[in-house]
C-alpha cells in the first residue's frame, strides 16, 4: 500500500516536472497569427492605419478589431496578401487612412537645420542621426518614408524625395505581348 502510494506520488512528481519543463521549453513566443500578419505589413511604422505602428495594427487585425485595408504603404498588394492569409474578402484601400504613394525617403536641408533634435525623437526607426545643436542627417537606407518627422520640424527643413530607380534596383517588366485568341 505504502509502496503503491510512493510509486504513484513519484510518477506524479516526475510527470509534473516534465510538463513544467515542457511548458517553459516549448513556450510559444507571442501570437503566431500576429507574427504572420506583422510579416506582411511593410514596417513603415507611420501610424496611418490608426495604430501606433505596424505590430499594434497586426494585433488589432488578429483580434478582429481592425479592417485589413487600413495600411496605405502596404498598398493593394499588402491587402491582397492579408486577405489570402486570413481568408477574408479583398477590399480596396480605405480612403480615410490615406493613399498609396511611391516609396520616398526624407531629406534634411542641412543649410536650414537648427539641430533641435525634434525629428530624431519623432523617427520611429532611428533613421536620423545628429546631436543637439549639430546638423542632423537622415540615413537614407534606413528611412522608411513614414513622414512622421516632417511635422515636428520647426523650420520645415525636411522634404520627401521619391526613390529613383537605379540599375541595381531596376526590374524587368512584365512581358506585354498580344495574346491571339486560340
Amino acid at each position: 500500500m505504502i509502496t503503491a502510494l510512493l510509486v504513484m506520488t513519484g510518477i506524479a512528481l516526475v510527470l509534473g516536472a516534465v510538463l513544467g519543463f515542457a511548458s517553459i521549453k516549448f513556450k510559444v513566443e507571442g501570437d503566431p497569427l500576429v507574427e504572420k500578419i506583422d510579416a506582411i505589413l511593410p514596417q513603415t511604422q507611420c501610424g496611418q492605419c490608426g495604430f501606433p505602428g505596424c505590430r499594434p495594427y497586426a494585433t488589432a487585425i488578429a483580434d478582429g478589431e481592425a479592417e485589413i485595408n487600413q495600411c496605405p504603404p502596404g498598398g493593394e498588394e499588402g491587402i491582397r496578401k492579408l486577405a489570402d492569409l486570413l481568408g477574408r474578402e479583398f477590399k480596396p484601400l480605405s480612403e480615410e487612412h490615406g493613399v498609396e504613394k511611391p516609396k520616398s525617403v526624407a531629406v534634411i536641408d542641412e543649410a536650414t537645420c537648427i539641430g533641435c533634435t525634434l525629428c530624431i525623437q519623432a523617427c520611429p526607426v532611428d533613421a536620423i542621426v545628429g546631436a543637439a545643436k549639430q546638423l542632423h542627417t537622415i540615413v537614407a537606407a534606413e528611412c522608411t518614408g513614414c513622414e512622421l518627422c516632417l511635422a515636428p520640424c520647426p523650420v520645415d527643413c525636411i522634404t520627401m524625395e521619391a526613390i529613383t530607380e537605379t540599375v541595381d534596383t531596376w526590374k524587368w517588366r512584365y512581358p506585354v505581348v498580344e495574346i491571339k485568341a486560340a
Binding site: 520647426p154 531596376w170 526590374k171 524587368w172
Partner: protein
Amino acid sequence: MLRKLFKFHGGVKPQTNKTQSTTAAIAAVPLPDRLVIPLHQAVGGHPRPLVQPGEHVLKGQRIGGADGNLSSAVHASTSGIVRDVAQAVMPHTSGLTTLSVIIEPDGEDRWCELEKVNYRSTPPDELRDFLRDAGVVGLGGAVFPSYAKLKPGKEGKLKTLVINGAECEPFITCDDMLMRERASDMLKGIVAMRYMLQAEEVLIGIEDNKPEAVASVQAAIRASGETGIEAVAIPTRYPAGGAKQLIRVLTGIEVPHGRRSTDFGVQCFNVGTAFSIFEALEHGRPLISRLVTVAGNVTAPRNYDVLIGTPMDHLVRLAGPRPDTDRYIMGGPMMGVRMPGFDVPVVKATNCVLVGSPALFPAPPPEMPCIRCGECAKACPADLAPFEMYWFSRSKNFGKAQEYHLFDCIECGCCSFVCPSHIPLVDYFRFSKSEIWSREREKESSDGARDRFEFKNFRQEREKQEKAEKLAAKAAATREKVATEGAATPAAADGEAAPKPKPSATDAKRALIEAAMEKARQQKAQVAPKNTDHLAPDVEADIAAIDARRNAAPARAADTPDA
C-alpha cells in the same frame, strides 16, 4: 587519343551565322572623339572614381578603384583629358544611367608606367589583388571578377580547369578569332591560371564548327611543350558554352540544381579571360580593350580589338551598317539584350554588337496559350520545366516558380526558341527573377525597420522606467527627511500646548523644494551640452550658424499664424 565526351540534356541547333565574320583578321579601331567608361562594369560593388574632371590621364591609369569585397578596378583606355565624371546612359536594356568617366583622347595613346608580376614568386593573395586592380573579369559575358574565382577550393587544388572556347551563340566569333590569332599568348595565361589553381588537368572545349581554332590551339600546346593541357573539339549544339553544360560535356560531371562546379573540383574560365590574364601578368597591361564581333545587318561583319568606352556606333560604322538598321543588340540573338541607343559604350561584357533590322529580326508572332506540349522541357539544358515556371511567373506566384528552380535557369532562350506557341518564356523568367530579388531587398529592409522600431520602443520604455525609479527613490528620500525633521520639531516645541506638526512639515517641504530648485539652477548654469566641447573650428562655425538660425527661428514662427 580520343577523349570520351558526354551529352548535356536538351539544347537546340539554331543557324550559326558565324562564317561571315571570320573571313577577315582582327582589326584595330581608330580612336573615337570621346570615350565613356562606366565605373560599374562587373559583378559586385561599384568602384569609386579616382579622377577629377580636367585631369590628364594616361592609358592604363586606374580611374575607378575596386570597392567592397567583390569588385574590380576600371582603367583609362587611352591617354587624354577627363572631361567629366557624370551619369551616362549605360549599355543596359533599362536605359538607365550610371556614373561614368568621360575621356577626350589626346591622340598620343601613351601608356602609364606598367608593373608586371611573376606569378610564381608572388604570394597568391597579392596576385589576386593585382588581378583585381588590373580589372580582369570574365569576358564570356558574366563579367564576374576573375580574382575571386582564382582560388583553389578547400583541398588546396583543383581537379579540372575548364577553358571555355565553345562560343555556341550564333553570329559571335570573337573567341574563335582570338584562338586563331593569339593562341600562344592565351596559353600562357592558361598556364598561369593552372598554377594559381593547382589544377591537375586543363581541358579547352571548342565547338567542332571551329576547326581552325582547334588546330591553332593544339599547335600552340605542342609548341609550348606543356603537358596536361588538351584542346577538345566538342559537338556543336547550343548552349554548349554554358559553364555547367561545357563541364558536363568534357568531364561527365552533372552539377545538380543549386550547387557550384567548384564543389566537384572543376572551375571554368573563358578563353578571352585567359588572354587578359596573360596581358596583365606578362605586360602589366590592365583590361582596357577586348575583342568584339560586329555582325548582323552590316556589309562587312568582322572582329575588332576595341577600347572599353568606345561608342558602339563609332565601331559599327567601320563594318558598314545597312540603312534599315533600327537597333543594336549586345550579345547574340539568343541571349543578347537590346541597347537603349546607338551611342552607348562598349564595356567589358560586350562580346558582340549585333546590328538588327526589322527584316533580319522580325517581331515575334503573337503569343498563344501554352498547350503543355513539353517541347520546352525537352530543350532546356538546365533540365528544368519551363512551362511550369512560365505558368507561375505569369500568375506572379513567385514562390512556386522558385520551387521549380527558377534560379537555375541560365536564360539561354532554348525554350522560347522551340515553343510552338511563341511564348517569350525567357522574358517571363527575367521578370520573375528581378521581382524576387526586389522582394528580398524589401523584406530585408522591412525586417531592419522592425528591429529598429522595436528597439526604439524598448529604449523609451527603459528610459521611462529608469526615470520613474529615480523619482520614486527621490520621493522616498524626501519623505524620510520630512519625517525626521517633522519629528524633531514637535520634540523641540514640547512645552507648548498644542504643537501643530503639519505647518512645520509644510515649511520644511517648502525649504526643500527651494533648495532643490536652487540646485537645479546651479546645475543648469554649469552643465553645457557635452557635444559642444572641444570641437574642430569648422564644426564650431557650423554651430554658430545654427545658433544664428535658431535665434531667427522664433521670429519666423511668430510671423506664421498657424505655427
